[in-house]
Amino acid sequence: MEASSTSVREVAPSAEQVLGAAQRHIGEKLIRVVLTLAAGVTILVTLGIIASLVGETLAFFQDEAVTVKEFLTGDTWTPLFSEPEFGIRPLVQGTLIISLIGLAVAIPLGLGTAIYLSEYAPRRVRQTVKPTLELLAGVPTVVFGYFALTFFTPKVLGDLAGLDVSVFNGLAGGIIVGIMIVPTIASVAEDAMTAVPQGLREGAYGVGASRRQVSTRVVFPAALSGIVAAIVLGASRAVGETMIVLIAAGQVPTTSLDPTGPMETMTAFIGATGKGDVPTGSTGYKAIFAVGFTLFVMTLLINAVAIRFVRRYRQVYE
């Protein structure tokens, strides 16, 4: 920073200047070290997550009441009962059903929005719709949970659709989770579609294709890996969503496939159990970590797929 005072005309560097340069050199190195350490923190966070999950999960399986076989194959999950059972299947199944319902809602809505914004919408419409979608993306999930419980279940599913749903049900949870991930899917898919070179579209128009044909048969296939990435990212958010399902889908671990009844996801179990003051070291406390570990591995696998697809579409056109 003292460099500006140095005169250019001086030929031989004075002792002070040499010293200053040396100090600067050390300063530069120090800054580099500090910045590298900051970047290292992100690695520490990942290691911390893995360490905290694995440590307590191992302790969970060392508990005499628990066996790995029961955890993976049992179909009853009652870790806090006096005679506990630890089959994780109801939680995994609840997570999958709710995520699938969510995707069934979010894929058509998200992709429809993406095609409309990328291929059809006039500039002004796009400038209104995109910030509104960002607003939707910014709504805290606890608010979506409230909406699902107090409006969507009784008014839309009950009164409007005439379904006989319980107060807590997987269907409302799943649909609202779907609405929550629409902005994610729409924005990633739209990015991928916008990245398709204009020349491809013009070529198709040149041989007489209509706008719909260009959208569905040229742009859509050309952007496919980005679209898959969008869907996979949405799936990962659906699997990891906590508040909506905790509030609206209930806390009853079940192997029933009926979405109009209550069901519990992995995240909802973690939230519901973590809320009460579970004593450290109890089997219930360790169960939080075992379920968390299962959830972490599931989302890690999904993310790995998503990252691969995103990289692929970036390579093609950017």
């Binding site: 509104t132 999930t141 608010v143 949970g145 209509s210 990891g240 939080i288």
Partner: protein, 305 residues
């Protein structure tokens, strides 16, 4: 597609003209149906957003008053308010901002200006950040519970523990947006400084950072607004649900707006649902104000190079 498709139909057919005309009409009809479908699909998301805002507004607005903002939670719905939750949320945001700004900007600078991207460890850092961004927030809650509240750091159920946990949740977002802001500054700015004899850090500190501050600030504010709404990690880090006092320091017990909302939603009594709606209205107003500031910053200070 059917034989009516112009690309598929043979131009040599005798009734080529008629076929082509019919084909064009059928394409036109399908095109219109397709646009209509897209419009319906696009508007559903927006309609749900509108329904959500209107429904909570109707439930919540009548409850909002000066008393509601300046009372503590209570077992009696008529007396209950959100003061401790609001103050708790402010404390959390202060901690989050103090953590994510230096950490996020430093990491972004390292990745953009110092890291050699051919080295495997730098690629590991990048992929790791991408992964962290997609880790469910409740998993951060587990980390916070095991390592920050209990375990190595052992901070207890305090403001500091909650703030640190939320910081980790939003850190990847801050890093990504800060990197974008830094990358948006043309290299010629920094190169000019280097050519005049600045050291690398001088060029970064005096030229690159000032030019990217609006972008970074926007990212930080958006991250804060995400942190404000996060509920799941706080449940695990164990902000108590009934806190009838304001936090007095970093080592104080606390509650926060989304937690207070969740705790009221969980109450069976109807009156508490209305309180939850009112608190949601307050939360959404805070969020919209933050977002407005971010958009204003972006438009006001963003330079076109």
């Amino acid at each position: 597609m059917s034989a009516l498709d112009p690309a598929a139909s043979s131009p040599l057919a005798l009734d080529a003209r008629a076929t082509l005309g019919a084909a064009r009409r059928s394409v036109a009809v399908r095109d219109r149906l397709f646009v209509a479908l897209l419009l319906v699909l696009t508007s559903i998301g927006l309609i749900v957003l509108a329904a959500l805002l209107i429904d909570t507004g109707i439930d919540g607005f009548p409850k909002i008053s000066a008393d509601f903002l300046t009372s503590f939670p209570s077992a009696f719905p008529a007396k209950a308010g959100i003061e401790s939750a609001l103050v708790g949320t402010l404390w959390l945001m202060a901690v989050v901002a103090a953590v994510i700004v230096p950490l996020g900007v430093a990491t972004a600078l390292y990745l953009e200006e110092y890291a050699d991207h051919l080295k495997w460890w730098n690629r590991v850092v990048e992929v790791n950040i991408q992964n962290l961004a997609a880790v469910p927030s409740i998993v951060y809650g587990i980390l916070g519970l095991a390592f920050i509240v209990r375990g190595p750091l052992g901070l207890g159920r305090t403001v500091l523990a909650g703030g640190l946990t939320l910081s980790l949740v939003v850190l990847p977002v801050v890093i990504v947006t800060a990197r974008e802001a830094i990358r948006a500054v043309p290299p010629s700015i920094k190169e000019g400084a280097l050519a005049l004899g600045c050291t690398q850090w001088q060029a970064i500190w005096k030229q690159l950072l000032p030019a990217s501050i609006p972008g970074i600030a926007t990212g930080v504010i958006l991250s804060l607004s995400r942190a404000i709404g996060e509920t799941a990690p706080l449940i695990l880090v164990g902000a108590a649900t009934f806190v009838a006092f304001n936090p007095t320091g970093l080592d104080s017990a606390f509650t926060a707006l989304p937690l207070q909302i969740f705790s009221w939603i969980s109450q069976p009594k109807e009156e508490f649902q209305a309180l939850a709606a009112a608190a949601i209205v307050v939360l959404l107003v805070v969020l919209i104000m933050l977002n407005a500031v971010a958009i204003w910053l972006r438009n006001r200070y963003q330079k076109r190079w």
